[in-house]
């Protein structure tokens, strides 16, 4: 994390946040500050995990980076360009399935290309290639409802990859999957990440997931979300998640999170007491 005050207009980093904050429903009675004072640099090709209690604004930050929401404080850059609108360079993958149910798997994957008016042959070729990378080429002509939850998320990853993004934004993408599938998907994601060379920003509240995936873990405070600390993980890949080192990290992250969860609980209790 950079500590210089001056904005890095010239920075070629994948994502640069300076003093970023978001207040929902700003200027109304329901206004609430979800996120404040975020300074963050993500290098190209880096795998960063956002870890924090529910409602700490980590997903909000992802939406701001995606350009789907406007920051109410500060500014964001991606590869030197100010983030103002969504861009195919920064693909977002959601927790729930977000495939278009009326399109086949390959049509879903090539949706972005069809927006640009690409020919059917080109779209099918690109879709086949992207699906090959997630190991689902055989399912090309199926419909999303014929696939399992894990397969659907792999199709969502393929759809993001088809846009050749430089930043992959993932909002708890494996949260709805069972434990075994989730472990497989983590390995799969690391393969995809290594192949694509894109930066990955991955939101989760699972400590195990953070330890398995991240180059750096950004730990958030509860409301309003601030960066509490950034924990680098230097373990070589493939990682042995049962090693002493991994265990030490899990304990460290658990301690960091516990304070925040306690604080969030206390706040909620105070709120219900006054209500």
């Amino acid at each position: 994390m950079s500590s210089e005050g001056a904005p890095h207009f010239s920075s070629r980093d994948a994502v640069v946040c300076r003093g970023v904050g978001k207040t929902w429903a700003a200027g109304t009675k329901r206004a609430h500050n979800a996120l404040t004072d975020i300074d963050l640099d993500v290098a190209p090709g880096e795998f960063v995990v956002f870890l924090g209690p529910s409602g700490c604004g980590k997903s909000t930050l992802l939406y701001l980076i995606a350009g789907l929401e406007d920051a109410t404080e500060g500014q964001l850059w991606s590869f030197g360009d100010l983030v103002e609108t969504p861009s195919p360079q920064r693909s977002l993958i959601f927790q729930e399935t977000s495939l278009f149910p009326w399109l086949t798997v390959w049509e879903n994957v090539s949706f972005g290309l069809s927006i640009r008016g690409a020919s059917k042959e080109e779209r099918r070729t690109v879709a086949a290639e992207a699906l090959q990378r997630v190991g689902l080429k055989a399912a090309m002509d199926k419909r999303p409802d014929e696939l399992s939850g894990g397969m659907r998320q792999r199709v969502a990853v393929a759809r993001a990859l088809a846009m050749r993004p430089k930043v992959l934004l993932m909002d708890e993408p494996f949260a709805a999957l069972d434990v075994q599938t989730r472990a497989r998907m983590q390995d799969f994601l690391l393969d995809v990440w290594r192949d694509s060379g894109a930066s990955v920003l991955f939101v989760t509240h699972h400590i195990d997931e953070a330890v398995a995936l991240a180059d750096r873990v950004v730990v958030f405070t509860s409301r309003p979300g601030r960066i509490k600390t950034i924990v680098p993980i230097d373990m070589p890949r493939p990682r042995n998640l049962f090693s002493r080192e991994a265990e030490t990290l899990r304990i460290q992250l658990t301690d960091l999170l516990r304070d925040e969860v306690d604080r969030a609980f206390a706040e909620q209790e105070a709120l219900t007491a006054t209500a």
Binding site: P88, E96, S98, F100, G135, A138, S148, R159, D191
Partner: protein
Amino acid sequence: MAVVARDSEPGAAAGASRPAAASRLMASMAGLDWLAKIWWTCLSISLFAGLWELCWALGWADEKLLPPPHIFLSNIAEQGRYFNTATRWQVGQSMTEGPSAFESVLITGAATTARVFVGLILASVLAIGVGVLVRYYRFFDRLVLPTITLLSPVSPIAWLPVAIFLFGIGNAPAIFMVVVALFFHMVLATINQIDTVNTNLINVARTMGASKAQIYARVIVPAILPGMLQVLRMNLFGAWMVVLVAESTGVGYGMGQVIMLARNTFNPSLVFFTIAVIGVLGFTFDWLLRLAQRRILYWLPDTAERLRVL
């Protein structure tokens, strides 16, 4: 990609065999399922008719006021004479000449059905168009939505004089009545459907660089289709109700006109016969719409089974 390769084999195999097995099972069940449906439909109607007949047999239902099915269905030829009276008059035929009783019923039924169909199509196209425009242009929303909400609770009966002032006599006022009775509700339903489209789907399209027009055309319209067809089905019955009101005021000919004729000549048998014909037409129409729904909305799973396990 070692892990992926290992994972993909069983995954793809399971994906291929599961729907295949399911569809084979469905195919073998389909024939029986179809027969069972007919059986239950017949049973349902027979039960209703049976109760009515029982009331008649016990002397509770006066056959001059509430003639049971076996009476009002017994003299179709007699009843048929009253159908299609307007065209008989137009071509200068007497009551005993012209198309046979059966043909007359068919012609009259077809005329009413055509009005329902045209009215329903017009109302849907207009309502979906206006509903999408309301959400697409903020300006249009502010300008048009208050009036639509204001006119929405007005009963179709109130529009009847307007229909006659504007269109006089003929098909047009009946179609106008159907359109005006459905349009306002369907606009509000369309807006509601648009508001409940999954935000993720819209956000996916946005991150892929889709324009506002593309998001509406490629995401929102397909996403609201299932709900809109449901709305259409609900409104189909509304259309059938309204068209009778319109026809009873002298559109020329149609089921509504026959009902009025029956009322004026105190002919309960004819009333119930006409009601039976309307019921069959409406039922068939609904069935066709459900068939179309299944064709158009190929991606929707059948959720009717969900509650059966309770």
